[in-house]
């Protein structure tokens, strides 16, 4: 594949970076990234990955845009209220960058479709808003040997880690979903809108670094930040072979008040 003159201009600020270059940009254009959830984390991740020229972006979300989403889910605009989130996101991605081919799936990511959905992608981004989905993504990616970025936010705090086959997984840190209602959700506890952008763009950067094969990923490290104090730190975590043995996928139960996507 050769970059067109328009692509050389569009991606010039990437191409002049020694660690990206024309070669890295071509890898980005040939890559396939799946974003699960087009909410607070998925929205900024999708915007940056589209702008970067990720050739194939998969987006999956069963929800429609709600007025309360617009405080942080920056890919959705006021006229999109009531529209499926994947449709709203697909329209914006097309406007940002016609190089990007979008596969929009208006459905839930479930135990019975997870492995089939992820198999076509190079990297997966967890932008979901509930524990059953986060553990399902972890388990599917460990089983399917797919790298993925975990992300979670609440109030003013965020956490993220990157899994590649062999590294510590989300389950190595958190063994399983907390009991329903023991941990508040964003709709119950609130979330400071800008931190969704802070975390979602870290996830996008991890995806791009994985694709171009440069730098150090957030593997075996959990990045935690508190935006109220604006304090960032990483905690080293180890692979736990017992917790990396995933033999089947399950849709865990969750309380009904947690079902609303955020």
């Amino acid at each position: 594949m050769t970059l067109s003159e328009e692509q050389i201009e569009r991606y010039s600020r990437h191409i002049i970076l020694q660690d990206v270059g024309g070669e890295g940009q071509e890898k980005i254009l040939n890559s396939k990234v799946l974003i699960i959830g087009t909410g607070g984390l998925g929205a900024p991740a999708a915007l940056y990955l589209a702008a970067a020229g990720v050739g194939n972006l998969g987006i999956i979300d069963s929800d429609v845009v709600d007025l309360s989403n617009l405080q942080r889910q920056v890919i959705h605009f006021t006229p999109d209220v009531g529209k499926p989130k994947v449709e709203s996101a697909k329209e914006k991605i097309a406007e940002i960058n016609p190089d990007v081919n979008v596969t929009a799936i208006h459905d839930l990511f479930r135990a019975d479709n997870a492995l089939d959905i992820i198999k076509d992608y190079d990297f997966i981004i967890d932008g979901t808003d509930n524990f059953p989905a986060k553990f399902l993504i972890n388990d599917a990616c460990v089983m399917g040997e797919k790298p993925f970025s975990h992300g979670g936010i609440l109030r003013f705090d965020g956490q993220t880690m990157t899994y590649v086959p062999g590294s510590a997984s989300y389950r190595c840190v958190f063994n399983g979903p907390p009991p329903p209602n023991s941990v508040p959700t964003c709709s119950q506890a609130g979330v400071f809108g800008a931190i969704a952008g802070m975390l979602g763009t870290i996830q996008a950067a991890e995806a791009l670094k994985y694709i171009i094969g440069k730098g150090d990923l957030l593997t075996n490290r959990l990045l935690i930040f508190d935006a109220l104090k604006m304090n960032f730190r990483t905690v080293n975590v180890k692979p736990n072979q017992e917790r990396l043995k995933i033999t089947k996928l399950v849709d865990a139960e969750q309380a009904s008040c947690e079902l609303k996507n955020g």
Partner: protein
């Protein structure tokens, strides 16, 4: 003793303390909300009552964050 809790040096007026006691001391009301790493190892929940934290140990309280 001095320990490192969540990256910060913390002084406790005891020579050792269990993880459960430390969670209570730090006012973590719902231990279900937190995963605990002790000297680099994530602890199983059933070890919270028996694991002793000693001088110079490192403890991390890692909170579940399910939002997105």
């Amino acid at each position: 003793m001095k320990i490192k809790l969540n990256g910060e040096e913390t002084t406790l007026d005891k020579d050792s303390i269990t993880i459960s006691e430390l969670l209570a001391l730090k006012d973590v009301k719902m231990p279900d909300m937190v995963s605990v790493e002790h000297n680099g190892d994530i602890l199983d929940r059933d070890k919270f009552d028996t694991t002793q934290v000693k001088e110079a140990d490192q403890v991390e309280f890692l909170y579940f964050m399910g939002g997105g």
